[in-house]
Symmetry: D2
Subunit: 366 residues, 4 copies
């Protein structure tokens, strides 16, 4: 992970700004012979695409992905896959004021302080548009996982918006695709709809918590002590715009547990170890157990809001700012497919790393 590159063997470099000509991902290290085409990647991009309902930004971007290299006759060749998405709906006029005034809670000020130059149009490199490139790269990772770990499934969904969490007792996976919030709980979705509508009308925004679960993950992925699976998942999720917290399994709540409660007891099933619980989120010592890998991350509320906030300009004058333009009232919603994409990239990377160092054989139980 080095500036704009993520991963060890499956390496994704994203590039591009919100209002430049294009953005995309350079994907290096994909195994050869994987069926990849633009339509397949488009499927995942369409899930993340803005403007699909009133709860996301009204910017209209087709987010059409073009494969420029690394795929020949419908298959990956093992060489770098370049994925490009043209920006088309750039209304740069929306962004006049923020050229010189910093939005509180936004990267405007830190980019300026670091670089002494910034592409202020639409947040430039710090825009959530960058995550489209991740979703495209994640599509390649999913295609490779489908070939290498066919039982592996990745599912992202929303578990909290503002102060309102889902009720785990009502968890229904079939609900996820039926509402604009990826909520696995129909009643929570209804509650969130009202909550967001009220905030949006008030010129305000709201935070969220996303959960991503991978099932069918082979045991043994991850490596001590800095290449741990959870280390890379934490980095992957924290690198998404606006994320401020990451949890594996029980996460921050482990602090309140005793060792007796926290121990996921083990019995022997017909296919190997069976765990009585999953406080660990499928990872022990940085290595996957074979249980579901469970990650959660918190997304802060959009900082581009219609309520005036006190701030300063580039020349140090104090002022107030109201951010017009087309912004997500809850940027966490579009983070769901992004979290899934990052999960796919990390798992594929660790699958390849494991195969590289260990090969196919490993410790048997029983």
């Amino acid at each position: 992970m080095s500036l704009n590159t993520f991963g060890h063997l499956f390496r994704v470099t994203t590039w591009g700004e919100s209002h430049g000509p294009a953005l995309g991902a350079t994907v290096d290290g994909c195994p050869p012979g994987i069926a990849v085409d633009a339509a397949m990647l488009q499927h995942w991009l369409d899930r993340r695409r803005p403007g699909q309902n009133r709860f996301t930004t009204q910017r209209r971007e087709p987010d059409a992905v073009e494969i420029l290299s690394g795929v020949f006759e419908g298959q990956s060749t093992g060489t770098p896959i370049q994925l490009m998405i043209r920006n088309t709906d750039q209304r740069s006029k929306d962004y006049g004021e923020i050229a010189r005034t910093f939005r509180p809670g936004h990267a405007d000020i830190t980019y300026w302080q670091k670089y002494g130059i910034r592409d202020y149009r639409g947040g430039g490199r710090s825009s959530a548009r960058e995550t489209a490139a991740r979703v495209a790269a994640g599509g390649v990772a999913r295609a490779a996982l489908a070939a290498l770990a066919p039982d592996l499934r990745i599912s992202g969904y929303m578990v909290q918006i503002g102060p309102h969490a889902i009720d785990r007792a009502r968890f229904d996976a079939d609900e996820i695709e039926r509402n604009p919030f990826w909520a696995p709980d129909r009643l929570a979705a209804a509650e969130w709809e009202g909550h967001i509508d009220a905030l949006r009308k008030a010129g305000n925004s709201v935070g969220a918590v996303v959960e991503v679960v991978a099932s069918g993950v082979p045991a043994g992925l991850g490596a001590p002590v800095y290449g741990k699976l959870d280390t890379d998942l934490a980095a992957a999720m924290m690198s998404i715009n606006a994320v401020k917290g990451v949890e594996i399994g029980d996460g921050m709540a482990v602090a309140a547990l005793s060792g007796v409660e926290n121990a996921d007891e083990i019995t022997m099933g017909p296919d190997g170890p069976v765990y009585a619980s999953n406080h660990a989120g499928g990872i022990l010592g940085g290595i996957s157990t074979g249980q579901d890998v469970v990650v959660r991350f918190a997304v802060k509320p959009t900082s581009s809001i219609l309520t005036p906030r006190r701030t300063i300009t580039r020349t140090g004058e104090e002022t107030e700012i109201v951010t017009k333009g087309r912004h997500d009232p809850c940027v966490g919603i579009r983070a769901v497919p992004v979290g899934e994409a990052m999960m796919a990239c990390v798992l594929l990377d660790h699958l390849l790393l494991h195969r590289g160092q260990i090969g196919e054989s490993r410790g048997r139980i029983g």
Copy 2:
């Protein structure tokens, strides 16, 4: 960050097992001309050293660090610094049963599944002893930071043990060094003492939340979009044994905030921007703002407990395990100096990265 190496320019590779001859850290990329000696590193190691009170493992390790390379006449030379700590108090006989039986909640089973071989003595590579190497390397990072960023201060302390959090209104930095828990709240420390004693007597253990704050961090450290400062901090903290959650600033709680609440409003002070609050934990868009950098992480309860738990053996037989030996009832306590060390390593690394790409100049405000 690649298996056992952490960092971009300031690169730390830790090595060694709990009951092998020694463990240590290979530190590459330290600037030359930094005053470094063993006594200075020993100071930090002594803070982490086990056996100092009844709340940590009773294993007696002097943790004496030896500098084998990279330092000449009391100064770093710019070449790799090898830090070695001999293991001395290895009672391998304590670890007979766990050679074939997996402790629930422990890396025993995943190391076996991954590698098909494991050094079962005392947890081997997955032992918390590995963190001694981190603390030693962190001592080198602190020495370099003292020269390069003299106003920078790092302070770690405990904010929660079990269900009992500190009262922020009672926060007193002077208390931290006065109690065995690094608690900044005297009443919380008293409460924790009772809580841990009760659990320990019951053959149980407890989780914790550690907070690490760095003040005096220059604005501009970090880089989009995978080399973000918070990405690397999240990875650094998640890579510590038993950590299951990491938060920057308000962390998971940002989900419940509105954008109006979350925006850290900015005014202009004599020395630059002044922020009305620090929900962001000193990082916006992955780049430091100049405010305090605030990180928290949750440490799960020790999985080596005296209460019997159901588990299986290497050959797949179901059994119960009781882990005898000398284990921390709250491994989170010793994680405080480790979190500080990781903070030091990450900040130095990003300071060097920043200097490499940007040099000294950057965007001025005002």
Copy 3:
């Protein structure tokens, strides 16, 4: 350096195939505030462009570079710079036979053996067209060097074609741009013209040796013991298509020298050390001395020739192959700007690395 990425802090990832839609370079780590535009990069690409005379392939490619990201209002922003060159003159029909028959001396067979799939059109990823992306990236490196090390100059030229070397006594830098071979020796150029014409008419091709010299390189660039300046230069040049040997300074000829001859004696000049000779090619212990950095590399003859050669097909049948199509009779000619580009990338990378670890200060002499 990891598969398709080169560099530590200034990182270049090239992507693309000879006959795919496009190829290019993802350039990460460029300092901000560097004046960069497409015209500047085009200048260097035009030097390498095929079809300019009868000594290079007759493929007509405008090699027009498009900057897709990382540059705002004519300056680098510090974020990834994506450089794209569309392929336009793809006559895929030329490449029918090589879809199933391997050219001796070409990567056809090894790509097949490794990946089990290959884009056979025009050599795919192994085509010399990939070097266009390097030249574009090298243009960015040169722009940054112009700002950071204004006295630094890079000059590449040809010193041998076939068995005919230049006469160093006739070395004339002004000649380099006056002949199609980048020869610094007018008589050698005339000789080469006849040699290549004869080989081309005979359906044959020829090898070459390119020399690249950088003057004005600050002392102190490079680092022990694997990040040496010469290590990275050797890797950079060896990574260019068809290169089989790399020399620093006297190169292979040092074997025949005695220690007395090889020692570059030092005296003290007004601005620092003055060397009586430069057998070392400007690098001692992997670190630049401040003298000219001198690198040479040998480029093998093009393997795509009109003379029949014995080979096999993908299905193992023995056959002969004659490679039609538009191929360079001496691919070494176009390697001259590529060698310059690699020199620029390596020097900038080490300048940034040095600044990162050391800053501005270093050991003074006198």
Copy 4:
């Protein structure tokens, strides 16, 4: 490859100075379950050990290697293997003068210019003693190769000392271990003996060319376009002290070949492709063909000589230097086992990389 670390998946970090307490190698990424012990590594170290005859330095170092981590009950565990060699025969008094005077042709001056501090005792980090750590790490790589590629053999030998090359017609592999020069040609060895003796008596030294050949290398190792097998071999060999040129196959001589001559024609044998020649040195397009991998490198003459040479001091005074002490008259001799070790490390690394990205399957011929 990042400062003092070499390799992608099999990563070797060497550390230590000539006259510090110890030196060694941190080896990360070794597959688990490989039989490794100190005696096995000692075998290779003993081949490189100084003081065994009058043609190498008379420093007496046992070079006894200690394994500090990563090996359990005689097998690698998959965690970092720390190899330490204590320095024992440090006569620091030998090195008084060079504390302030720079040896021409030596890294003394560049280390000073870069770092502003240097361990001048015996060359410090730039000493050839560092290569002991490489040989130890190479022993681990050989052990892993023995398990993963049992047909692979690595053989290094000397092909030139001073102006005298071996006669390839007299090549006899059995001779290599019978003379102190690793010469595969008995008559050349006799000639070199006289040549070196004369130079040594004259207070002079001599250069050399080493060749390393690996047979039994599986086809398909290496990756475009910066992770090429020859790129990494060139870097590996150029990183060895005093090396100034690296050649693959015909090396610099390819320049004089025509395409007809250079094409290694292919026929079909019972086990796959059969090549009529090996100008390519077993590598096409950066990927192994299955033929012998052939690398050569030139080692310059030792710069520590008894003949006075003009130089300057740290304070800029002009002077002459005569280097007393125990120095190799031909440091190239001890580079033979080092070249073998680097070959082993690179091949294992690429074997693991290949297995990681590709797995076992690949393109079949026939």
